[in-house]
């Protein structure tokens, strides 16, 4: 066990003395994040989120003003650039469309949503706001998060209006300004005004009410920084795998194998070195981006566990590449190709949510896509408990890849005996 750590820490030390490797591991992702920030206007006065035309499906089962108000809100001019709503009548159809990856989320407004808040026909409302269902596409967590925020804000304003209305009506009644038989008409009128107000000022409402949280969720740097870090993590793990073949060619691996160190210790030590390097790289980038870009990564424990899991899966890919390659040069070539492919598939350059369903499923072979999902969950306020599926996905990926790699290493005879 001691030798395993010694080999791993020796490799970490060597990487941090290699200027070329450091440039790719730390400087390149940092500069790319910065550049992407400028390209997407993260530093511009517009404050553009970089997210646009989110496909959503609206199902309005409510016959009242408030259900229609929510539909109008999504169809309003203020949200034209952000969302592209489509109306369907059946919740089942909407959910199926989400399952097929056709939109980021379905917003299903329940029957009686308005009636439960605004009294009609002299009937008192129940006083409870019926929940609006948001059926999310798990492959589009950022976009689904945006939709959820809008709906939550709407519900929040409706709730505020309902409570405020109750107080006003009660005080007017107590003061003798209205009679009990006028309550229903006044409450109904107030409800209509409330619905109109929500629709008329949606943009202001969203910005004002969600200031702190929304800024965190939609800071484009919070999307770009992890995506670039994950992209260059693939470089790090393939470069680490390359070091195994370099040591073999350079004579240090055979020398290790004639010392009282068995080949399993050497191989696991080398893998540990790759893993350790990946973890250190990710943590440095995360801390640097926090300090320099002000990115909030969310729950620290969740972030740490996510990094450990993402690097585990990425190291699995690094080992598979190394086990398949014959020379250090081949590892570099394959590693670079996989780095770029995974970056595209995993959403480092293009959001996967706007891609076809098959593309989104294919992206799940990459640590990038799982990692991005995890970072997004944490960025939107999630915690370690919310990362279950993401961590499981990364762990399964790592285990499968390591199993394949060890099988291939075994067949190739690691020690060239």
């Amino acid at each position: 066990m001691r030798k395993l750590f010694l080999i791993g820490f020796k490799d970490l030390k060597l990487v941090f003395r290699d200027k070329a490797a450091l440039t790719f591991m730390l400087l390149a992702p940092f500069l790319l994040t910065l550049a992407m920030g400028f390209v997407t206007g993260a530093y511009g006065s517009s404050g553009s989120s970089g997210i646009s035309q989110i496909n959503i499906i609206l199902v309005n089962r409510d016959g009242g003003q408030l259900g229609q108000a929510l539909v109008d809100l999504f169809q309003s001019a203020d949200l034209t650039d952000l969302v592209a709503p489509a109306l369907v009548s059946d919740p089942g159809t909407a959910r199926a469309q989400i399952d097929a990856g056709e939109a980021a989320a379905a917003v299903i407004i329940p029957d009686g949503f308005t009636d439960n808040i605004i009294p009609t026909n002299n009937q008192a409302p129940s006083g409870e706001v019926l929940p609006i269902e948001i059926y999310k596409n798990p492959l589009a967590p950022v976009s689904a998060g945006v939709i959820q925020s809008i709906v939550e804000e709407f519900v929040s304003r409706v709730e505020t209006g309902r409570v405020g209305g109750q107080v006003i009506v009660t005080q007017m009644l107590t003061a003798g300004l209205i009679t009990p038989d006028q309550i229903s008409a006044i409450a109904s009128e107030m409800g209509q005004r409330q619905a109109d107000a929500v629709v008329q000022a949606p943009a202001i409402t969203l910005q004002a009410a969600q200031s702190g949280q929304a800024q965190k969720a939609f800071n484009p740097m919070a999307y770009m920084a992890p995506s670039m870090a994950l992209m260059f993590l693939i470089f790090t793990v393939s470069n680490g795998g390359r070091s195994i073949l370099l040591e073999q060619a350079g004579g240090t691996l055979p020398r290790l194998l004639v010392s009282p160190t068995n080949s399993a210790q050497v191989l696991i030590g080398k893998i540990f070195g790759v893993y350790l390097t990946g973890v250190v790289q990710m943590l440095i980038l995360i801390v640097a981006c926090s300090l320099l870009f002000g990115i909030q990564w969310g729950d620290p424990l969740g972030m740490l566990v996510l990094v450990l899991a993402a690097v585990f899966a990425a190291t699995g890919w690094g080992m598979l590449i190394t086990s398949l390659a014959r020379t250090p040069g081949q590892v570099s070539s394959i590693g670079t190709a996989i780095m770029l492919t995974f970056a595209i598939l995993g959403g480092s350059f293009i959001q996967t949510s706007i891609m076809p369903g098959w593309f989104q499923w294919l992206s799940r072979i990459t640590p990038n896509a799982w990692g991005m999902t995890g970072f997004t969950i944490l960025g939107l306020g999630g915690s370690l408990a919310d990362l279950g599926i993401t961590l499981l996905g990364l762990a399964v990926m790592g285990v499968v890849l390591f199993a394949f790699s060890i099988l291939i290493f075994g067949r190739r005879s690691f020690a060239q005996k």
């Binding site: 030390k13 055979p254 009282p260 160190t261």
Partner: protein, 314 residues
């Protein structure tokens, strides 16, 4: 002296190619044993098997009674290996390299630090111990490469052509250090294709060619095989054909053998001085200019030539 290493019918095959073909020999405790042979003779493959890096196709060897096949870990604890190619981490300093490799040999703490200081002193790099190896000259790197093999005070040290590609001064230092280590009691298996090194260092020599051990013994025993023959070496010009000269020289009565290597004709004769004049005459007759002449008494080069019909540098 008891045998520290015993190799029995070691064979290593790669597909149809046989790199080492059934060699057997012993190394006695406290001696310097050299394997002498040209490049490709199988010396490195032999050391790789003996140091447990490669598993023999057949045969076995023991180091201090431990089988290289059945007890590789026990063997590794007893041996030190100085590989032919530098096996160091260029981005680590000499001290860091020694520290890492010492830890791989289960050394630690004060004992390891003391050993590192001793080895640095031994290889003459105490002053430059904190410089990264990549800043060193070839000779200095070679010395660190040797130092790594000495850290754990092995009973048996394998040195695989440690002087290849270095300057004469560093070569001299390495040869002296091998002798010094041997004086201190270390048993050494040394491979080389330089006859002079084997002659200077070795108590006994094994001559290898094409994967086989073709001769084995002390220098005196080996040179007896060529009788009292001496060697006459004629160096001809780059534009001359040494083969034509060799053919002509072979017609001389006293000549036992004449072979060509590059621009050199190596002639085996009972008296080199006596053969010089007729050989030069032959050269003049053919219009071949002789640039220089060497005459040598019976040596390992002559033994190799005698046994294989080729010069050692082939």
């Amino acid at each position: 002296m008891s045998s520290l290493l015993e190799a029995r019918n070691l064979v290593k095959k790669y597909g149809d190619f046989t790199a080492v073909n059934g060699i057997s020999f012993e190394i006695k405790e406290g001696e310097i044993f050299s394997l002498l042979g040209p490049n490709g003779a199988g010396k490195t493959t032999t050391i790789s098997m003996l140091s447990t890096l490669y598993v023999p196709t057949s045969g076995d060897a023991t180091v201090d009674g431990h089988s290289i096949i059945k007890e590789p870990m026990a063997v590794r604890n007893l041996i030190g290996v100085v590989p032919q190619d530098l096996a160091l981490y260029d981005d680590l300093t000499a001290r860091e390299n020694l520290l890492f490799w010492g830890q791989m040999y289960n050394l630690s703490g004060k004992k390891l630090n003391t050993r590192i200081d001793e080895v640095l002193d031994q290889i003459g790099l105490t002053d430059k111990a904190k410089q990264r190896v990549k800043t060193y000259s070839g000779g200095m790197k070679r010395r660190v490469n040797i130092g790594v093999g000495l850290l754990h005070k092995p009973k048996l040290l394998f040195m695989d052509e440690p002087t290849v590609g270095i300057d004469p001064q560093s070569r001299r230092a390495i040869l002296d250090s091998v002798k010094e280590l041997n004086k201190q009691g270390m048993t050494v298996l040394y491979t080389t294709h330089y006859m002079e090194e084997a002659a200077e260092l070795s108590d006994r020599v094994g001559i290898m060619d094409h994967g086989e051990l073709i001769a084995l013994g002390t220098q005196a025993e080996l040179t007896k095989q060529v009788g009292e023959m001496e060697t006459l070496i004629l160096h001809v010009g780059e534009n001359d054909d040494p083969e034509r000269l060799a053919v002509a020289i072979r017609t001389l009565k006293m000549v036992r053998k004449a072979d060509v290597t590059d621009h050199t004709v190596t002639v085996i004769v009972p008296e080199a001085e006596e053969a010089l004049a007729p050989a030069v005459t032959k050269a003049n007759e053919l219009g071949i200019k002789i640039h220089s002449v060497d005459m040598r008494e019976p040596n390992l080069e002559a033994v190799f030539l005698h046994l294989t019909g080729r010069a050692l540098r082939d």
